[in-house]
């Protein structure tokens, strides 16, 4: 366990450093933010003042050093565009994105796991083939186009659901969320569906593959030979065996769902981190992009850590740090 923690700590530091370096260098090479921020008719003096104020006159390594030092104190720079600390900007948008991501993951698991389980238990049947083909279709649909089609059909065609923005929010248990109001939920349905579809396909395929791999194993046959019911075999023996890998993958996917929200948020004008980042890229708002990447990296590492711990809890054979 100690080894595991030390290793993780070192990895986290290394990855964050690497990402910060890559991000910083990458962003430095793009355009000159001063040019974009200033009106076209700005004087040379105004331009110099802006460059000075933004610290753009310093050599690149000095800028990086300042950037790192500030990052360690939680200051990831101030947005050129909004003139607010970029970390504040991102954290403001975070709840909306998280809400979207969790809804999508929820849909994917609730629909995907039973479908995958059924398909895995009845391989080769008509329904199995339909589910499998459907799941291939699911991950073949380009996410953005599928979003457009959802809007075309349900907003424009049928007029059932709103196509853009986040609806009214309310408070549940002190958390401000769309789930509190009907309007909020209505606004959430299409983007959540859009984001869920890809992961739904993944959950189906993963569950099916795991079930198919587990069912022919000797211990399932031995459980049958003991005379226990099929329900208990599938519900306890098989389910517990495949839980660890499935939970791991789904957990990892939470990060990817948050990242993928970039596209969904652009299409449905959802005011989350993803939309912010696309806007910031287009406006060359360097501090926000940098802060976003660092926040996302940190989040990924935390998610991985939690998933690893969860895996240990679910599978008795795994002991962290090779202490078995």
């Amino acid at each position: 366990m100690t080894v595991f923690l030390i290793r993780r700590l070192l990895q986290t530091a290394g990855v964050l450093l690497a990402v910060s370096l890559v991000v910083f260098i990458g962003l430095y090479a793009v355009g000159n933010p001063a040019e974009i921020l200033l009106p076209d008719d700005a004087t040379e003096a105004e331009r110099q003042a802006a460059i000075l104020a933004l610290g753009l006159d310093q050599p690149i390594w000095v800028q990086y050093g300042v950037f790192l030092k500030n990052a360690l104190t939680g200051d990831l720079g101030t947005s050129f565009v909004y003139n607010t600390p970029s970390i504040t900007l991102i954290l403001q948008r975070f709840p909306a994105t998280l809400e979207l991501a969790l809804s999508a993951l929820f849909i994917a698991i609730v629909l995907g796991a039973p479908l995958g389980l059924y398909a895995g238990l009845h391989p080769g049947t008509r329904l199995d083939r339909t589910i499998v083909t459907g799941s291939i279709l699911g991950f073949s649909l380009p996410n953005f186009w599928q979003g457009l089609m959802l809007i075309l059909v349900f907003s424009i065609g049928l007029g059932w659901l709103p196509s853009s923005g986040r609806g009214a929010t309310g408070t549940i248990l002190g958390i401000e969320t769309s789930f509190a109001t009907w309007d909020g939920i209505r606004h959430l349905i299409l983007p959540a569906t859009n984001l869920a579809l890809f992961k739904l396909a993944l959950v189906i395929r993963l569950t099916r593959a795991q079930v198919r791999e587990t069912m022919p194993l000797d211990f399932v046959k031995f459980a049958r030979a003991k005379g226990i019911s099929e329900t208990r075999i599938v519900g306890v023996h098989v389910a517990k065996t495949i839980a660890a890998p499935i939970v791991t993958v789904i957990g990892m996917e939470l990060g990817s769902v948050i990242a993928f929200a970039v596209i969904t948020e652009s299409i449905f004008a959802w005011p989350g981190m993803g939309k912010l980042i696309i806007d910031s890229i287009n406006k060359l708002d360097r501090p926000v992009v940098a802060a976003y990447l660092l926040v996302i990296t940190f989040m990924f590492i935390m998610i991985n850590l939690i998933v690893d711990l969860l895996y240990t809890a679910l599978d008795p054979r795994v002991r962290l740090g090779g202490k078995a």
């Binding site: 030390i6 290793r7 070192l10 740090g321 090779g322």
Partner: protein, 335 residues
């Protein structure tokens, strides 16, 4: 004849995982070091020209690792390896090549020991052509002759391994080894995966080859019946060490080590009828943490206090026989 074909002195093989940075840090903080697996622990053994030496032991005793060291598939961690009297450290490139090709290996698993994507002709014919023993133009003839020698129809040379049965695949493996004209075969459980009737065919083939080519064998097996039938001398291993060596008939008649005794008692043999088993007690200790003193003391029916502290040395117990057991000490002291 006086110089052994292969001689090992105090050979050991240690498997460790190099600790990464985090683990080194943890060790510095006072955590235990990662376990070290001494698969082979100070083994000395000589195999003479033309003899068939058996190597017996249970799973995890290091017999396969020892075989691979002899065949040059694994390197050793320590000790001396002499090939025809010459120590490995003093080999020229030509010596090394000769030693490597002279000793060939026959593997256990007929499924995984043949490259599934190569045709039989390529499997058998590749090495001799690479080493210039056979001209490329003569490859086909050479392959056909080898296939014939091991009892395969040369007409099958264009086929792939999956088109053969287990016994036939084992013959292909034998032909592959023979292709570089070895004088020494290391057979690692070479018939363990085969059905009894097929096993008999392959054992006969080994005996024929020995006669025809004057081969030296290191025959590794857990099957005492096979060992008794095929070998002249036998060495018994337990947890990385050799506990007894001697001529096969004598050891089978009167083993000098309690472990050998237990193995012989417990191997079921046809024709003994129904009998009540009095098995050896206890489990095989983990090779990661072998017991101190005599490694067999945790299971030995004759265990004495000295066995728990002092490891017995291999000592002569009869002409041509050595064994590592404190029981033999006492008789010596009485003399």
């Amino acid at each position: 004849m006086n110089v052994p074909h292969v001689a090992l002195r105090d050979v050991s093989k240690i498997f460790t995982r190099k600790p990464d940075f985090a683990e080194r840090l943890a060790i510095r903080l006072g955590l235990p070091k990662p376990p070290v697996l001494r698969a082979v622990d100070g083994v000395s053994l000589e195999v003479n020209h033309g003899e068939a030496l058996g190597l017996v032991g249970e799973s995890g005793c290091g017999k396969s690792t020892l075989g691979r060291i002899v065949a040059g598939v694994h390197g050793k961690s320590g000790g001396e390896f002499r090939f025809e009297g010459k120590e490995e450290a003093g080999w020229t490139a030509e010596d090394a090549r000769r030693a490597r090709l002279d000793i060939q290996m026959i593997f256990q698993d007929p499924m995984s020991s043949l490259n599934p994507r190569k045709r039989i002709a390529d499997i058998i014919g590749e090495a001799p052509v690479v080493h210039g023993m056979v001209a490329r133009a003569d490859r086909e003839t050479a392959v056909a002759e080898l296939m014939q020698e091991v009892g395969l129809d040369p007409g099958y040379a264009r086929r792939f391994p999956h088109q053969f049965s287990g016994g036939q695949r084992q013959r292909i493996g034998i032909a592959r080894a023979l292709a570089v004209q070895p004088k020494f075969l290391v057979c690692d459980e070479a018939v363990a995966a085969l059905d009894v009737s097929i096993q008999a065919q392959v054992l006969n083939l080994f005996m024929d080859l020995r006669e025809r080519r004057g081969l030296t064998y290191l025959f590794i097996s857990h099957d005492l019946g096979v060992i008794e039938h095929l070998t002249d001398r036998v060495a018994i291993m337990y947890l990385g060490r050799i506990v007894e060596v001697g001529p096969t008939p004598e050891i089978f008649r009167k083993p000098a080590h309690p472990y050998t005794q237990a193995l012989l008692d417990e191997a079921p043999r046809v024709g003994r009828g129904r009998r009540v088993y009095v098995p050896l007690k206890g489990e095989l200790p983990s090779p990661l943490a072998p017991p101190p003193g005599c490694r067999f003391h945790t299971r030995c029916p004759h265990v004495m206090p000295v066995c728990k502290t002092t490891a017995p040395d291999l000592k002569p117990v009869a002409p041509g026989r050595i064994a590592a057991c404190h029981l033999n000490d006492t008789t010596e002291q009485e003399e």
